[in-house]
């Protein structure tokens, strides 16, 4: 039995037994290589679930809408390792109770979706530990290195050009599981910290502050990057923040549900070579 069939059966059993009230998974999209989130509430519907190498979106974002989990019932969700990390962060930030999240875990390897054993986020701890020791994406690092080798002036010009394209549609924010704030800082108008019209300065501020808010929280699912209609390489900014958190504070976002936020904690011997 392939993974798709197996997980359809698992989903049906979870729903039939009443173990979960809802399964969040992937369904057919508008084109053959696209998948979109679907929400299955009865075992009869599990046939709509699709699981293959095109299922790349981090569905954990659909766990956070207010009220979904407040009845104490459980929800099953298809997650790759990045999504499992997101669940851990959301748990660490008290946005959900990980006991209510049944994970149908999988990873994509060589064009195939493979099942990951485990049901609750904490059962994936060894997997996440191995991801931490494997380190961050080398592809992104290569691209980041390319930027770091530029002069500051060139780098500024690069980002200026990128950010000048931003239309402040906030798709990056909407797709991100970490952007669960009831009110985003960009929507604060007393005072208006971030210029909201989509001129480059405001775009600069918005994208910088968003990356800062994701420091130590981004799991590199790439959702923002894919959602961006004007193709700003947002993942690079987030990657740079993840690298800082990992290299300087040994913080790998979402490693466990009891991880403390990297910017709400400190060590007395945190490095400070840059402070005069």
């Amino acid at each position: 039995m392939g993974i798709q069939e197996q997980y359809r059966t698992d989903a049906a059993n979870l729903l039939d037994s009443g173990a979960v009230k809802l399964v969040i998974g992937y369904g057919e999209g508008s084109t053959p290589e696209r998948r979109r989130p679907i929400f299955i509430r009865s075992a009869e519907e599990v046939g709509r679930l699709v699981l293959d190498a095109n299922c790349i979106a981090n569905l954990s974002a659909y766990l956070v809408p207010e009220g979904l989990l407040s009845d104490g019932k459980s929800v099953a969700v298809f997650l790759k390792p990045d999504g499992i990390r997101s669940v851990n962060i959301l748990a660490a930030e008290a946005q959900l109770n990980p006991e209510q999240v049944v994970i149908l875990g999988f990873n994509i390897d060589a064009g195939l979706a493979n099942p990951l054993p485990g049901r609750k986020a904490n059962e994936f701890a060894p997997l996440l530990a191995s991801l931490k020791s494997a380190g961050l994406s080398t592809d992104l690092q290569r691209e980041a290195d390319r930027l770091e080798q530029m002069t500051a002036v060139e780098r500024f010009e690069y980002w200026k050009e990128q950010f000048s394209k931003c239309i402040k549609c906030y798709a990056c924010r909407q797709v991100c599981p970490m952007c669960y704030c009831r009110r985003c800082i960009v929507d604060v108008n007393q005072p208006q910290w971030v210029n909201t019209s989509s001129h480059t300065l405001g775009n600069f501020e918005w994208n910088i502050i968003r990356a800062y808010h994701l420091a130590g929280r981004c799991v590199a699912c790439g959702g923002c990057d894919r959602a961006c209609p004007v193709n700003i390489p947002l993942r690079l900014l987030n990657h740079r923040m993840s690298k800082e958190a990992l290299d300087t504070f040994d913080h790998f976002a979402g490693e466990s549900a009891d991880q403390k936020p990297v910017l709400a904690t400190f060590r007395q011997d945190d490095p400070e070579t840059f402070i005069l």
């Binding site: 770091e148 300065l201 910088i208 502050i209 900014l237 923040m241 945190d270 400070e272």
Partner: protein, 149 residues
């Protein structure tokens, strides 16, 4: 241009250490460059990264963020929290092309009036040599022209 460029520097400081250190430089009649404008806050823990961006928007060519030495924070831990934020935010700014030389961080205690005066002089010299932060200021000019219509 014959006139030398005088940079604008905005400093965000805690009231217990660096602000007091600056006062000490004053009471000791030390002399330093007049380019710095101080924003007094209770603690470095109160200094949000947005402050730095706003200072740049207002035409600052350099920003200084300064507070109590580790272990000396009036609020015990505020500067430790601040240090983490600076570490992260500073690398982010550098990555987006805002030169590290323009964003400075320091620990200056209430007893370090001399250090304050020396630091302001050296930062002013350094930023004067860099020249105005035109790249960022261009962005602000664009808004000002846009907002006229």
């Amino acid at each position: 241009m014959t006139e030398t460029f005088e940079p604008k520097i905005v400093a965000f400081v805690c009231t217990y250490c660096t602000y007091a250190g600056a006062d000490l430089a004053g009471t000791s009649r030390m002399k330093y460059a007049s380019n710095v404008r101080m924003v007094r806050l209770p603690c470095t823990g109160r200094i949000s990264p947005m402050f730095i961006l706003k200072a740049l928007q207002k035409g600052a060519d350099g920003v200084l963020v300064s507070g109590c030495h580790p272990g000396d924070c009036h609020f015990a831990q505020g500067n430790y929290h601040a240090r983490r934020r600076w570490t992260v935010f500073r690398s982010l700014l550098a990555f987006t092309g805002i030169p590290e030389e323009r964003i400075k961080f320091s620990w200056i205690s209430a007893a370090e009036g001399a250090k304050f005066a020396e630091l302001i002089n050296s930062i002013t010299d350094e930023i004067r040599a860099l020249g105005p932060f035109e790249q960022y200021q261009e962005l602000q000019k664009v808004i000002e022209t846009q907002s006229t219509y």
